[in-house]
Amino acid sequence: MRMDAHPNAHRIIEQTASEAYGRLLSYLAVHWRDLQAVEDALGDAFVAALETWPKVGIPDKPEAWLVTAARRRLIDRARRSRVSASALPTLLALSEEAQRLASAGADLPDERLRMMFLCTHPDIDPAMRTPLMLQTVLGVDAARIASAFIVKPATMGQRLTRAKAKIRAQRLTFEPTDAEEMPARLDAVLEAVYAAYGSGWDEAGPADSPGRSLTKEAIELGRLLVRFVPGEPEAHGLLALMLHCEARLPARHDDEGNYVPLSEQDGARWDAERMQEAERHLHAASQHGRLGRFQLMAAIQSVHAQRLRTGRTEWGAIAQLYEGLVQLQPTLGALVGRAAAVAEAYDAHRGLELLEAIPAAAVASYQPYWALAGHLYKRLHRDDEARTAYSRAIGLSTDMSVRRFLSRQAAML
């Protein structure tokens, strides 16, 4: 057994890695565009810390130590590969800045927003923006990202590598260069964070969504974004939406592990603290007088949450909000959600009409559509159609508890 002079070192390194990884990586990457090289260098720096800190003690400024170590690796690498002599001054300046900030007792500048912009650059494949952001900003490993998105890990690894190579080769820029470009770029960031959360949650009843295993990470990204752009109402809206959905987590399953749809959930099991936080952000968003889709989605969840106080769900209000959402962006989720709300607020016929107006080709493998279709046919006593729709919904579900729930619904016909 090895005796460590500083037994806390491992814990501190782990803590630094989880808290500061994305910050350190972003800081280094802003100065040194080769993301892959920066990742490797930072990884090496953490390994060096694991070897050194237990023996000599934890440095005063662990983060500055890590940046300096990573910088050294980058210089070695640049020298070895003789990439370009002009790169060295950048690295040296970087190291000097880190040293200067450390000795002044200041923190390294937080460049994670710029990193988020880089990950969602228009030239990056939209499907890779979220994985890239999860990996660089939060340090989530590629294997976990692959599982969350149901992609072969080797494929995910290759795609991440390719995206990073593209950033380097095409010298993609971090932030929008002009104000005109800003709204679209910010929208791409919001979209990528939302995709990390996994869409489809509870919107139209018993929907399941494979992205769910990264909800904590998505909320973390949402919180970061709100901190960086506090004046952006949609950032508040997105965070409010995710927090409201997350607050329901304890109520989504009963003690036997059975899935419970939103309308039947015990509101006492909802996480009050998260709901309050969600409401605060929704309120902050409303101060700007500029509505957007994430605020609308959050408002829908907020109306659901009000059932806890009033004892009833205001489906009319929800239907109106969905109407607004469909006007802004008629996604499948919004269209199915609107049909569900209209069916509850007015009558099942009208809901079904809206549902059946969605093109069949678009919903061939969209589970929420079939779950809602089963429900509405059942209410209209069209049992055969209900059975067929439930069967499709079950066959399209990936969540075991949702499958069992739908089977029970079908069995009641």
Partner: protein, 115 residues
């Protein structure tokens, strides 16, 4: 592109096929899944397989032919059925694998037919 989904089942799954109490639920899981697959219009071929204890395995050892009862390898989970599907890419094939009513599904791309 054509992919083969290989569904692995546990001893318990195989037992459920013939257990009067669990048979219906077991079969229903497959019925719904097959329904969704067929309606999506991607099925090339599909078949369930009888339990591995019914299998016969041919093995050549040093040129000598031997036939044994049972599957090729005794593992906890055994191949229970396959589906060949026609989808654009491996991502989509994995998406369908995730919907399967079993816990383990292997996905492989099929080689083009020999000329």
């Amino acid at each position: 592109m054509s992919y083969t989904l290989m569904f692995y089942e546990s001893q318990d799954d195989f037992a459920a096929r013939t257990d009067p109490e669990r048979q219906k639920e077991y079969l229903a899981g497959w019925t719904h899944y097959v329904h969704a697959l067929r309606e999506a219009g991607i099925v090339v071929f599909g078949s369930g397989l009888h339990a591995p204890d019914k299998a016969a395995t041919m093995k050549r050892r040093g040129g000598e032919l031997a036939v044994q009862d049972g599957p090729f390898a005794e593992t906890k989970e055994q191949l229970g059925g396959i589906f060949v599907i026609d989808v654009p890419d491996l991502d989509t094939a994995l998406e369908w694998a995730a919907r399967g009513p079993v816990d383990t599904v292997e996905v492989r791309e099929n080689l083009p037919a020999l000329k």
